[in-house]
């Protein structure tokens, strides 16, 4: 491992969890989040010299990730989409814990939102970015981000209402039966 790689990984290590969660939530049903992570890290590494301050590394990484997704959206094929969706479904259903199940349904619901809404909600709610940072990453205005967050939450509620029964059932203690 050379100096550049070690320096890059040193910056990446503290934000790994946030980045992993973002990728997992963001590409649920579209592609393997590991691919997105690897591609983003590789691009970030190649453009590492362009990074002005270490504090901006997180937003630098997420900006690259968002651009990659935007490019992939144009190149995406329907057949591969179906395959990835099935793969993600099988993977998450094997997670047996209640928390994993709830998060699985959340990801499923997020996948039904529009690209911009999904991205804004994930960045704000899961990754913990401020509205200003999200606006910079998405290259849009703060009011737009606010609108996306508001509409995204409303849509999520609607979607999750239909899957609330399994969520409630999973949260209830065993033996109470299902509604």
């Amino acid at each position: 491992m050379n100096k550049k790689q070690s320096e890059f990984l040193e910056l990446y290590e503290p934000i790994h969890d946030r980045f992993e969660r973002f990728c997992r939530a963001r590409v649920y049903g579209d592609m393997d989040f590991r691919d997105l992570m690897n591609e983003t890290l590789l691009k970030a590494y190649q453009k590492f010299e362009a990074l002005r301050s270490k504090e901006a590394f997180l937003s630098f990484l997420f900006s690259i990730s968002v651009r990659i997704l935007a490019n992939n959206k144009r190149k995406r094929k329907e057949d591969s989409d179906q395959f990835e969706k099935q793969e993600a479904l099988v993977f998450d259903l094997n997670a047996s814990t209640d928390t994993s199940t709830d998060v699985y349904f959340l990801h499923q619901a997020l996948a039904e939102l529009s690209e911009d809404q999904r991205e804004s909600i994930i960045l704000f709610e899961i990754t913990g970015f401020s509205i200003k940072e999200i606006a910079q990453i998405q290259e849009t205005s703060e009011s737009s981000v606010k609108q996306r967050l508001r509409r995204g939450r409303m849509r999520l509620k609607e979607i999750l209402t239909f899957v609330a029964l399994p969520i409630e059932a999973n949260n209830q203690p065993k033996g109470e039966g299902q509604l």
Binding site: H16, R34, K157, T161
Partner: protein, 423 residues
């Protein structure tokens, strides 16, 4: 069952605190592997790009080389000087060379004996090179060995090959039928004064005449002649003859030329006198034959009979002319004229009257219809006038009535006001 904001926040909180599926070590390994592969990939791409760039240069350079080489080859092959260098030098210099010089300054050395043999007496074909090129006191400058010039076509000529098309060959030339402007027979007894005379006449007619004669016991033993017409022909060639003759025994040689419309020499001919005479004899024979053929054709035409027929026809024509009765023709002409006048008068009387009557009838009808229409128009206009007057009267009446009503109402109001004040 609806999902509240709290439930949603709880779900987000769970997602936020969820343990990552892909741990850091796994991600690090994948990243390092990807960087290595990417580095190789980038290098490969750069290498490929370099190769492509090099290939492009190779293609460009090779194309330029091919074009340049091709141009050089074509250019060299088009330059006759380069080719002429490979031609062997003259073997038979004792020959008459009829040369047509191209427009471009082109010099070549060749064996021109093949097409000149008919012009040289057989006893002169033996060459004594040493004798010819002995240094003489008055050796002219043009008699250098390299000055022998042949046409381009003769460069590859075989000994039995066809002669040059531009060469004025005696054997095939048909122009010998017409008389030459100048003709000189050179024998072993021809003196220098004769040659000087020839030179003067030739130069007068625009021929560059250069000669060199060597005498032994007042007999001509060696002769070098060069005749050249500077004026180029239509095809860009000029005539140029060089002869280098070593004389042994009897010798008869002739030079002659034709003059063009401008009085300058257009063609010249050199060769054995016998051949000139043969040509002239042949031409004379041909001319006599053609005259005989023409006479035979005239005889076949039977002109006397034709003339007789023509005379009889003319006599008949005059006889018929005399038989014509001119009085009858004049009477017929007068009768035709009278008939024509009568027909014209009849036409005037009958047809014109009919036409006039028809015109009168039609005009009367037209006038009647127009008058009726005018009357109807007048009636309508009068009716409209009456209606307008009636409307005016009614309007005036209405106005008067309104005024009267208003006056009455005003009066009533005044009376009421007066009564009110009184009360």
């Amino acid at each position: 069952m609806s999902v509240s904001d709290e439930n949603l926040a709880q779900l987000f909180s769970q997602a936020r605190n969820q343990q990552p599926v892909a741990n850091l070590d796994e991600t690090k390994k994948a990243f390092i592997t990807a960087t290595v592969v990417a580095a190789g990939g980038v290098l490969a791409t750069k290498g490929l790009l370099q190769l492509l760039t090099t290939k492009k240069w190779i293609i460009m350079l090779s194309t330029i080389t091919i074009i340049t080489t091709g141009t050089l080859i074509v250019g060299l092959s088009a330059n006759p000087k380069e080719t002429a260098e490979n031609i062997p030098s003259v073997d038979n210099q004792n020959s008459i060379i009829t040369v047509d010089e191209p427009q471009e300054s082109f010099e070549a050395v060749a064996d021109a004996s093949s097409y000149l043999e008919p012009a040289i007496p057989s006893q002169l074909t033996e060459i004594d090179h040493n004798a010819v090129f002995e240094p003489l006191a008055s050796e002219p400058d043009f008699l250098n060995e390299n000055d022998f010039i042949a046409a381009e076509d003769s460069l590859d000529a075989e000994p039995d090959a066809e002669p040059l098309s531009h060469a004025p060959r005696l054997a095939e030339s048909t122009s010998k039928i017409k008389p030459y402007a100048q003709r000189y027979d050179i024998t072993e007894n021809t003196t220098k004064t004769d040659f000087e005379k020839m030179k003067r006449e030739a130069e007068k007619d625009g021929i560059e005449f250069t000669y060199k004669a060597k005498y032994t016991d007042d007999k001509l033993t060696k002769l070098r002649l060069e005749l050249k017409i500077d004026q180029e022909e239509e095809d860009g060639y000029a005539q140029h003859v060089m002869s280098n003759i070593d004389i042994k025994g009897s010798f008869e040689y002739t030079i002659a030329w034709d003059n063009g419309a401008n009085g300058q020499a257009s063609n010249f001919y050199c060769g054995d006198t016998d051949e000139f005479n043969e040509e002239d004899n042949d031409a004379q024979g041909e001319l006599e034959e053609s005259i005989n053929e023409f006479e035979d054709m005239l005889a076949e035409l039977q002109l006397e009979d034709l003339i007789e027929n023509f005379d009889s026809l003319s006599e008949q024509m005059w006889n018929n002319f005399d038989d014509i009765d001119w009085d009858d023709i004049a009477a017929e002409f007068e009768s035709f004229e009278a008939e024509f006048e009568e027909a014209f008068e009849e036409f005037k009387k009958e047809d014109v009257q009919k036409l006039m009557e028809e015109l009168k009838e039609s005009s009367e009808e037209m006038v009647k219809t127009i008058q009726e229409e005018l009357r109807q128009m007048q009636i309508e206009i009068e009716k409209e006038k009456i209606e307008i007057e009636k409307q005016k009267e009614q309007d005036e009446k209405d106005k008067k009535e309104n005024k009267d009503k208003e006056n009455k109402e005003d009066k009533k109001d005044d009376q009421e006001d007066e009564e009110g004040t009184r009360i």
